[in-house]
Amino acid sequence: MLKFIKHHLDTIDGVEIFPVLSFLIFFSVFLFALIYVVKADKSHMDEMSNLPLDNKN
């Protein structure tokens, strides 16, 4: 009976690649963002973070 809820995806070729692919895509975007953030210059960061305070209301 277990076969009814398991092994659905067995017939899809190379299905094991999906979790690996997901992780790689996520990790690379995360890495890109991290590298940017570390390298970003301080004055730009300050300028950006002050945008909401740039008006009285």
């Binding site: 076969k3 809820i5 995806l9 975007v29 570390v38 390298k39 950006m48 305070l53």
Partner: protein, 727 residues
């Protein structure tokens, strides 16, 4: 360059703020009625449009799309204009957006209590309303992107990224999940069936939480917390990581709503892994919000706006820790289908969304009305009432969840279930349900105080409909920085940001869903699984109309304490003709997946079902199910032919031309179902008047809706036991 003069549109902000407050109150009151019905089921006895199954979708839709929705629009229209130093792109689009959205809400408030429902949680609205939502959403996006494109500030502040990503993702979610085949003006069937429908629905349901209740509010947090605290966000760098990590991970986590169901294990594990990863960006964002107040905590003591924000962000932190924990399979096995989840979502809705919205209302209204808040003291009272009420709400629900889990899985030494009768558990929960309603009432008292306070504030001031502002125009040619980084490049390109956000969320959605769609041809088909008979199909539509799925699941998980109680666990192949799936997410009542199996423990004869639907506590002592006297109305099967044709179009194997025979088959089966009812006519819980009508032949039981519902219930779960149940 010449300084340009322009004005901010405050009127549209005011309209959305008033709408959020008004619909919020409506949503809370409907919620309170639902809460009271849980321990006093006869509160709205016999009034079909006030029964729990119909009001609960109204409550959830009102809170999510009317209360929170209007707040998002108010916050976006207020903060966006100021962040990009430009008036909204078009006043006409703003107006169409506002009135269009309110019309949709009114349409929902009318159709849901009348029982027009697609039967998919948080997406119950029928197809004409779905199309209207898509159109109004496009108007909103058009207006927002138009404003951003004519901005006078080069770089887009992080709040705007959240707005853009939220808009794009909600559009994708809504369209994909709402693909349905209309049968009539207010009736349609989901194009997906069974496992696929479940996956799409929870991909939508989960991400509606993510991209409607969370990311827009994070955008609002990144604007209003610094604004109210008078200092910039703790770390702008962290906010960039927060944004990309969050939108990237969130979209994958939907399957955690389907752990231990018939969904493929692969998809379940993916949902769990991404849910755990979600803790990182969620807490990064929460800390970024709270730490913005570093060195300003003294202000929190005096400023009610900041108080509400602190509670909101703290609630966000708690919910986003709890969520991943509930996605662990072991903890999920204990909490799924219980009231714990109800506590969890209300911590989010009342704490995170509610308190953030109250903060916004108290912050914006005095400013655009050029006055001071009428009473700080009253607002403080509101703050304490709201905070205390959340505790009064959540703790009884957590407690109830633990009680349910403990009692459902308790075995005697001889291997039988200790609480074989589902009601053993239900009756234990009544005090918790009552306490929860008290919590909800306290929350509403706070909201009423807010209404009075804001009313007085508005009366004492005057709306500054067009707020004068000035700024330099944006230079046409972008001066390129030396060695410009890609991210800085994207920060000033809204369209590219929009497209990149869509790509990012589509990767998650596609990788998760495409394999599961391919499953369609790969589901081990169970040859004995047959399409519903016409009468069962009609009964199923009544099951959806009454919102039975709000309290009953149809998905037996592979645990001994479930199979012992309900019967063999559910298999993916059993749901291939279920448009839409009705697995449910909460067990206020027992699971119904094997309700019709004659050899099963749950099996009840037709006359039992008849009495149970009319007067539940007459056959189930202590039952809190509503009574359904209106099921004695005549079944309206005018659209039966259309239903059969629609089902065939979607791949349900009704023979060609069957639609013309369907109604004859339906009448035959109805007679068969009604026969045991006539045989026991003296035992039926009907009034003397009805009895006389039946005796005089003025009323025929086989023509009632009741018979269709019973036929459907008696079909549930029987397909895999063809010999045991078919004559």
């Amino acid at each position: 360059m010449q300084l340009e003069k322009f004005s901010y549109d405050n009127k549209i902000v005011r309209n959305f703020l008033f709408a959020t407050a008004l619909w919020g109150l409506v949503g809370f009151l409907v919620g309170l009625i639902c809460a009271i019905e849980m321990f006093w089921p006869q509160l709205t006895n016999g009034i079909s449009f006030l029964s729990f199954g119909r009001l609960r979708p109204l409550h959830t839709n009102a809170v999510i799309f009317a209360f929170v929705g209007n707040a998002i629009f108010a916050g976006v229209y207020h903060s966006l204009q100021r962040l990009v130093k430009a008036r909204m792109y078009s006043d006409v689009l703003s107006k169409i957006h506002f009135w269009g959205w309110q019309l949709i809400i009114v349409a929902a408030a009318i159709t849901l209590p009348l029982g027009y429902s697609t039967g998919k949680e948080y997406a119950e609205l029928e197809w004409p309303i779905d199309i209207s939502i898509a159109l109004v959403w496009v108007i909103f996006g058009w207006n927002m992107m138009g404003t951003i494109l004519k901005r006078r500030v080069k770089h887009l502040y992080v709040a705007i990224w959240f707005y853009i990503a939220s808009w794009a993702t909600v559009a994708v979610l809504h369209i994909v999940n709402s693909i349905e085949l209309p049968v009539s003006f207010l009736k349609s069937y989901s194009m997906y069936a069974g496992v696929q429908d479940a996956l799409v629905q929870w991909w939508y349901g989960h991400n509606a939480v993510a991209f409607f209740l969370t990311t827009p509010f994070l955008g609002l947090m990144y604007y209003y917390v610094p604004k109210a605290a008078g200092r910039p966000v703790f770390s702008y760098r962290l906010s960039i990581i927060h944004f990309w990590a969050l939108i990237f991970i969130y979209i994958w986590a939907g399957p955690h709503h389907l752990l231990y169901t018939a969904l493929p294990d692969w998809a379940q594990s993916l949902g769990t892994v991404f849910s755990i990863m979600l803790i990182a960006p969620s807490w990064g964002g929460m800390l970024n919000g709270l730490l913005t107040l570093r060195g300003a905590w003294d202000k929190v003591r005096d400023d009610v706006v900041l108080k509400f924000m602190v509670v909101a962000i703290t609630a966000y932190g708690m919910v986003t820790f709890e969520g991943p924990m509930l996605s662990l399979k072991s903890l999920n096995a204990m909490t799924h289908y219980t009231d714990w989840i109800v506590g969890h979502v209300h911590l989010g809705a009342l704490g995170w969304n509610g308190c953030m919205i109250f903060a916004m209302l108290y912050f914006i209204i005095p400013r655009i009305f050029q006055t001071k808040l009428h009473s700080q003291k009253m607002a403080n009272w509101h703050f304490w009432l709201a905070t205390a009420s959340i505790i009064f709400y959540a703790i009884p629900m957590y407690w109830a969840g633990i009680v349910q889990n403990q009692m459902w899985r308790e075995f005697n030494a001889d291997g039988t279930l200790t609480n074989q009768n589902f009601l053993d558990t239900v009756t234990q929960l009544i005090p918790m349900y009552a306490t929860r309603a008290i919590g909800g009432s306290i929350f509403i008292v706070g909201v009423l105080l807010m209404f009075y306070n804001l009313y007085k504030t508005v009366k004492s001031g005057k709306l500054l409909a067009n707020e004068e502002a000035e700024a330099y125009p944006l230079a046409k040619a972008n001066v390129k920085h030396e060695k410009e980084h890609w991210h800085r490049w994207i920060e000033k390109r809204p369209i590219q940001m929009l497209l990149l956000s869509i790509v990012v969320i589509l990767i998650g959605g596609a990788i998760e869903m495409i394999p599961t769609f391919l499953v369609k041809s790969n589901i081990p088909s169970i040859t004995s699984v047959q399409p519903y008979t016409p009468l069962e199909l009609e009964g199923r539509d009544l099951y959806i109309r009454e919102g039975c799925y709000n309290c009953h699941s149809q998905m037996i998980r592979p645990f001994r304490w479930e199979t012992e109680r309900y019967g063999d666990y559910s298999k993916a192949g059993e749901f291939v003709y279920d448009h839409p799936f009705q697995w449910g997410s909460k067990r206020t009542g027992p699971d119904l997946a094997r309700e019709g199996v004659k050899t099963g423990r749950l099996y009840k004869p037709n006359d039992w079902h008849f009495n149970h639907l009319l007067v539940p506590d007459s056959v189930s002592d202590g039952s809190i199910m509503p009574r359904y006297p209106w099921l004695l109305n005549k079944l309206d099967s005018k659209t039966l032919e259309g239903k059969i044709t629609a089902m065939r179009k979607m791949g349900v194997p009704y023979p060609e031309g069957y639609e013309s025979k369907a109604s004859g088959d339906m009448r035959l089966q109805a007679k068969e179902v009604a026969k045991p009812l006539y045989d026991n006519i003296d035992g039926l819980m009907i009034s003397d008047e009805t009895y006389d009508k039946i005796a005089a032949g003025e009323m025929k039981l086989e023509e009632t809706e009741m018979v269709a519902v019973i036929a459907y219930l008696q079909r549930l779960g029987t397909d895999i036991y063809p010999k045991a149940t078919k004559k």
